[in-house]
Symmetry: C2
Subunit: 375 residues, 2 copies
C-alpha cells in the first residue's frame, strides 16, 4: 500500500472519509428538507466523486462546461444541467450533446441565447430543456426579479418552438460575502424567497414553471426551509475548503482536499521559508478577505503528519514557489525536506490545477481520480 508520505510533492490529496461524510450529510439534509439534490460537479470534476454526491437522490448533476457535460454523459450521467448562460455559438453543439446524454438542460438570460437554442432545437427536431437564469441578489448573471425583462423572456422561452421551458434557476453566490451562519442564513432566505417569488410572478401571468432551482454550498449548508424549491445545486461541499471554513459554512475538519508540499528553502534570518507549491498548485485566490481574523494567506499550513496547524502563513505565491511567513520559532523549526499539508483557500480553483488527485483513507492511497479539463 502506498502511503501519502511517499508521494512526490506537490501533490493533491483527497480524504475519502471526509468526502463520503460531506456527501452523505448534504444528501440527508436535502432529503429531510424535501427537495431534489442535483449536485454541481465543477469543484472536483471527477466521476467517482459525482457518484458519491448523487447517492440518495435521483442521479441528476450540474456542470459548468460542455467538457464536463461530455465527460459525465459518457460516464453514464443522463440528466445534466449546464448552469452557465449559454454562448449562442455553442447552441448547436450543446443540443447535439444533449441528444447523446439523454437530458442536457441549458441556461438562458438573453434574447440572443434564446434565439440560438430555439433554432438549434428546431434544426434537431427536439424541444431543448431550458431554464431562465434569475438574478436573486448576487448580481453576476440573470434577469432582474422585478421589471419587465424577466417575464418577457420567460414568455418567449415558453412560446418558442424548439424549447421546453423548465423554469427558473438562480444562485445565491452573494453568500460568499457573508461571515458566519446567521449572515449566510439571511442570504439563503433571500435566495429562496426571491426565486420562489419570481416563479410565482410568472405563474400569475399564466406560465407553467415546473422547476425552481437554487443553491450554493454556503446557503444549502445552513437553510432549514426549502418550501417552493424543487431542486438545489450545491457542489463545493464535496471538498469544502478554507474559505467555506472561514465563513463557517463548514468546520475545518470538513475540508477534504489538501496539497502536500515540501520545504525547499529555509531562511530564518529573513523570516521566510519556501515550499515547492506555488501559484500553479494553489491558484492565487485570496480567500475570505472580508472575514475578521483572516490571515491573508493562500492556505492553512498544517503539519503533514499530525495535521496540527503550524501557525505559519502561505504569504505569497510565484509560479513554483510558495513563501511562508510567521512566528520566528515556528520558522526556525522548519528544516529543508519537511513536508507540510496545505488546505487551499478555494478548492474549485486548486483542484483545476491538478491532473489527478490521490485519494486516501487514513494516510493510505486507495485510488486516483482524474478530473475533466478544458471547455
Amino acid at each position: 500500500m502506498v502511503s501519502v508520505t511517499d508521494l512526490p510533492t506537490p501533490v493533491a490529496v483527497v480524504d475519502l472519509d471526509v468526502v463520503e461524510r460531506n456527501c452523505a450529510h448534504m444528501s440527508e439534509r436535502m432529503s429531510r428538507l424535501g427537495t431534489r439534490l442535483r449536485p454541481h460537479v465543477k469543484t472536483h470534476k471527477c466521476v467517482e466523486a459525482a457518484l458519491l454526491s448523487v447517492e440518495g437522490h435521483f442521479g441528476g448533476i450540474t456542470v459548468s462546461t460542455l467538457a464536463e457535460a461530455r465527460a459525465f454523459g459518457a460516464a453514464g450521467f443522463a440528466d445534466i444541467t449546464y448552469a452557465v448562460p449559454l454562448a449562442p455559438a455553442k447552441a448547436a453543439a450543446a443540443v447535439a450533446l444533449g441528444a447523446e446524454v439523454g437530458r442536457l438542460a441549458l441556461l438562458v438570460d438573453s434574447d440572443e441565447a434564446a434565439d440560438a437554442v430555439a433554432h438549434a432545437g428546431r434544426s434537431a427536431a427536439r424541444d431543448v430543456p431550458v431554464y431562465l437564469k434569475l438574478d436573486c441578489g448576487y448580481h453576476r448573471a440573470g434577469v432582474a426579479p422585478d421589471g419587465a425583462v424577466g417575464p418577457r423572456l420567460a414568455r418567449r422561452l415558453a412560446d418558442a418552438r424548439g424549447i421546453e421551458f423548465r423554469g427558473v434557476l438562480a444562485h445565491g453566490g452573494h453568500a460568499y460575502y457573508a461571515a458566519g451562519r446567521e449572515a449566510i442564513a439571511v442570504v439563503a432566505a433571500a435566495e429562496r424567497d426571491v426565486t420562489v417569488g419570481f416563479a410565482e410572478r410568472l405563474r400569475a401571468e399564466g406560465l407553467d414553471v415546473p422547476e425552481v432551482s437554487i443553491g450554493s454550498t454556503p446557503t444549502m449548508a445552513v437553510i432549514d426551509d426549502l418550501s417552493g424549491i424543487t431542486e438545489v445545486r450545491p457542489g463545493n461541499y464535496v471538498f469544502f475548503d478554507r474559505y467555506q471554513s472561514a465563513i463557517d459554512s463548514c468546520a475545518p475538519e470538513d475540508c477534504a482536499l489538501s496539497v502536500i508540499v515540501t520545504v525547499i528553502g529555509a531562511y530564518p534570518a529573513r523570516g521566510t521559508a519556501i515550499v515547492d507549491g506555488g501559484a500553479t498548485a494553489f491558484s492565487k485566490d485570496a480567500g475570505a478577505t472580508h472575514v475578521s481574523g483572516w490571515d491573508g494567506g493562500y492556505g492553512a499550513v498544517l503539519d503533514a503528519e499530525s495535521g496540527a496547524d503550524t501557525g505559519l502563513t502561505l504569504a505569497s505565491l510565484s509560479q513554483e514557489h510558495g513563501e511562508l511567513r510567521g512566528d520566528a520559532a515556528a520558522l526556525a523549526s522548519l528544516r529543508v525536506g519537511r513536508r507540510l499539508r496545505i488546505v487551499p483557500n478555494h478548492s474549485c480553483l486548486t483542484a483545476a490545477l491538478f491532473e489527478r488527485f490521490h485519494v486516501a483513507r487514513g494516510g493510505d492511497v486507495v485510488g486516483e481520480w482524474r478530473p475533466v479539463r478544458g471547455w
Copy 2:
C-alpha cells in the same frame, strides 16, 4: 484553413509572428551582450516555442519542474538547468533523469539538499552539476551575498564527491516590483553586480566558479552590460503579458498570448456584462497593482477582430465567469455572442490553465501546441 474566429471559447491563442519576433530580439540582444542565452521554458512549456527561443544560441534551456525536464529531455534538449531549489527527496529521481537527458544541472541552497544530491550522485557514480542559489535582492530563495553561509555552502559543494560545482545562479525577480525601464535598469544592474561580486568573493577564497547565471525577463529586456555573466535565463519574454507591458519591459503589441472569450450576459442596467472565461481561463493574478494607472482588472479587454482596446475592465473572476465593468456606452454596445480578445495579466499562469494553445498567423490557425503539465 481554420480561422481564429471559428474556435469555440474560451480559447488560448498564440500569435506566432510575435513569438518569433520576441525570440529573435532576445537572442540577438544576448549575442550582442556576449552572453549565452539559456531561455526558461516555464511560461509556455512547449517544445515548439523552446526551439524558437534557443535559436542563435547553444541550445540549453531552463526548467521549473522535473516534469518539464523529463518532457524536454525526451524531445531532445540535452542541456537543462532545473532552476528551483531541489527538494531533497527528489535528488535520486533528478540524478537518474539527468543520466537520460545528458546534462541536468540542479540548484541548491541548503545543507540538506547538498547532502541529498551528493549522496544520489555517488550512488549513481556521477558528478552531478550543481549551482549555488544566491539571493541577489529578490529575497525569495538563495543564500545571502554577505555573511558566512554562502561561501561555506559553496565550499561544501565544491568539495563533495558526487557533485560538480558549476557556480552561482541568481534571479532578479524584484524587477517585477519596478515601474518603467529606468527603475528596471537599477534592479538589473544590482542583479548583475551582486551576483558577479559574490562569484568574485568565492574565487578570492580559492574556489573555481565557472558559471555566473542571472536573468529575469524585465532585467534582460533592459540591461546593456553583462560583463562577468556567463549565462542568462529569461523566459516570459517569449509570450510577454500585460504585466510586462505595464512595467514597460515590453510594448503592448509584444504580448503573444491572448484568450478569446464570448459575451454570455449583458446587463447594462447593472453596469456589467459577463464573458465565458473565468478564473480557470485567466488565473487570479492581480497583475501590476503597484503601477500608477493600473486598472485593477485581470486582463486587457480588446475587440477580437480589430484588437482595439474596448476600455472595459475584466473586473472580477469566478470559476467560469468573467465580469466586465466600465464605460456605460461601451457596455451598452456589447451584445451577447460578441467575441473579445483578452490579454492576460500573467501569461505563465494563464498558459498553465490550458491543455493546448492554438497557434495563429494573421488570424489563421497554423498549429497547435500542447504544454507540459504537472510536476
